[in-house]
Amino acid sequence: MSLNSESGPPLLEMRGITVIYSHNHLKANDGVDLTVRDGEIHALVGENGAGKTTLMKVLYGLITPQEGEILLEGKIHHFHHPHEAAAEGIGMVPQHFEVIPEFTVTQNIVLGREPRRGILYSPRRAEAAVTKLIKDHGFNLDPRTPASDLSVSQLQQVEILKVLYRKARILILDEPTAVLTEQEIHALFDTLRHLQSLGKTIILITHKLAEVMEISRRVSVMRKGRLEAVRNTEETSRAELSRLMVGREVLFDVAKPPRNTGDPVYAIRRGCVHRRGQVKPLLEDIDLTVHRGEILGITAVAGNGLSELEDAVAGMEPFSSGEVRLRGQDVAHWDSRKLRRAGFAYVPSNRLHRGASLESSVGENLVVADHHGFLNSWGGFHREKTQRFLAERLNAYGVSAPSSVPMGTLSGGNIQRCILARELSHSREFVLFAEPTWGLDIASAEYVYRRLLELRAQGTGILMLSSNLDEIVGLSDTILVLYHGRVVGALDNRIKVDKELVGEYMLGVRDDFAGECHEGA
């Protein structure tokens, strides 16, 4: 895999980078040294909050560090703005794509640096330039396609092309595989290898260790704002890297006892979601059953109905037709309020907006949906009762923050713990989890998995919607795959299914759904 000699001078050196965020005095980077050699794929790994993104923001000029310097081929640079970093050939491919849907591929790529003829934008030159760019770098895109017609992986290609168009030689990719399927990840890696062969240097921010092992030549591990270690990928292992990342051994396979499935607790029959003015339904004839003590995992590539299913099940945007039964009761037309009153528990995918109110206090976040239980005689809050409840909940879920601070001051992992503490404050027969570990570090994700399996052992029926294949395959008893709003595959996961197989369903390569598998098989 190695293409360049070890003896080459470091292309990029970051020395003693220290960043202290002024609003919370957090040392996000504490004297970090990073060396990246010319033409290598360098993985930057670390848990959430380890300081990876901050370090990269320093590199492309979005943050000015309090201390430290950046050297490119031995020359010191101080970037105060992304323009300055871009001029030196440093480009960032963001995790959340910034494309204009109405614009074509070409228009998106040249935006901000349009080829001109005199003072006028020259569409012809732009298209010629982009066509050449696409050909030179081995992509497969039509420059005239509107961005709204592109798939997620194609949008990512547009983002990469944008950076290449600006003549970047160092490409930073922030969690590029988070939104992709297995097959798309392979394709991305092929692209990256090709770019490497063209002499580009790539820094890959990730926390998926399998990918680090597969693609990178060297890997830097960050932990708590410091650089923990640098390794040649060939000489390390996943186990060592994860030890370096979290400071202790991590269980990769969650021990999952055999299931002990009971009666159905939640079922959907022919569930459809239509939006007014749209011909194609967003969800079509969804059929599923969740039994007590079972984890039903549903996965899909973004844009194939997973979030619509979440909204429909949660009563935020109810089903337009179909039958929904919760413990035998017909809840098809219930909104979130009625579901809540009936004890429906739901851990949403959008934790920072829907699942929590960041400006409200931790206490105010924890009592919602249950606050009727804390009334005193005149319609106010029963203080002592509330305080006791909060102390008990925070303690049980290992959150050390006082209940009076704003939710927004907590880390992502602690916010998810608070949400769990709230949603699981009563014994539940059915719980909806959506993207339960999205964006969480390994330790927090593991904590969530433990709680999920505890619930399963207690006989709770769990519907888990997730685009993370590892947790879908690792936790589910049954797996359903959505494609274009329909269930295209149902897999019994008692013996773990192959991730590649699930990926084929997700991409619509396979489509053989014939009723629910645990009724047929």
Binding site: S22, S360, V367, G380, F381
Partner: protein, 349 residues
Amino acid sequence: MRELKRREVTANFLSLALTLGAAFFFLALLIFLLSGEPRRALQYLFIGPFSNPYYFGNWINASVPLILTGLGAAVAFQASLFNLGGEGQVYVGGLSVYLLSLVIAPGAGVFALPLLIGGAALAGAAVAGLSGFFKMRWRTDELISSFLISSALILIVDQLITGPFKDPHTNLMATPVLPRGLSLGRIFPPSSLNGSLFIALALAVLLFFYLYRTHQGYETRLCGVNREFARYGGIPVNRYFLLPLLYSGALHGLAGALAVTGTYGKVLKGFSAGMGWNGIAVALIARNHPLWVIPAALFFAFLESGAKIAMIHTDITLEVSTVAQAVVFFLITSRWIREYFLYGTGRQT
């Protein structure tokens, strides 16, 4: 985290101090530029309201409607709703008192006055509630609808006061004086300070308890900071498009009723001018906290009272206080100052 909290308090304090300081500075600057006797003018401006019981009482009395309209604006803001129709709601509240007094004879005894005031509050609530209803039903922007409804009502009330309900025995553009027994007692003669002060203070405390200690207040505030989260938590968010505007309108109506029954004794044309807008400024200074509305209203009234006194005794005009109030309004609405103290100059990402 404690540190963050402390920083926030400091930032709030510093930005407020800077804002108020700037307001006084501009006021002084204007006087130096415009007045032939700036030293005397400044003296009257700043010390005037304290110089005798009459001025002092009138200053406090001028703050009463501002406390009420400030509370009214704050309760809507807490639910992140904008009630820009305060002016009209105050005016309608004032006229309602007169109209009700035609029906409710003073003979109704001790109940007459509460009935008048309560009726005016209901009238205010109905006006603002209309915007809330539209919002609930059709998602009409309450910011626009409350402003438009109020602007139309102001013209109608003007017409009624100068037309059918005008007192024929005077040249004043006003309704006849309310019958004896239908006014609040003066408590600090010779000034016009009256019992409405206690009502305003009590309501500030009441609103504080409502917002921060009750169940409905909690739901109101949650809808204000994050409506999506509120809906997720099973809170009937639709109801909170209407309810806070009803309370807001009621407080504005009350402000008008108390000004009429307490201070003027009749409905003067245009008496409500500025009360609604200044209430918004007061709520902004107080960061929508009901108890902070009291000092904020006192400050706003001080600017105006001081300028009035200076105008009587020297050559300056009332407009200088309007300019100072505008400076406050301008600075308080720019979030930049507070964020400067909170985060320093660092770029936000």
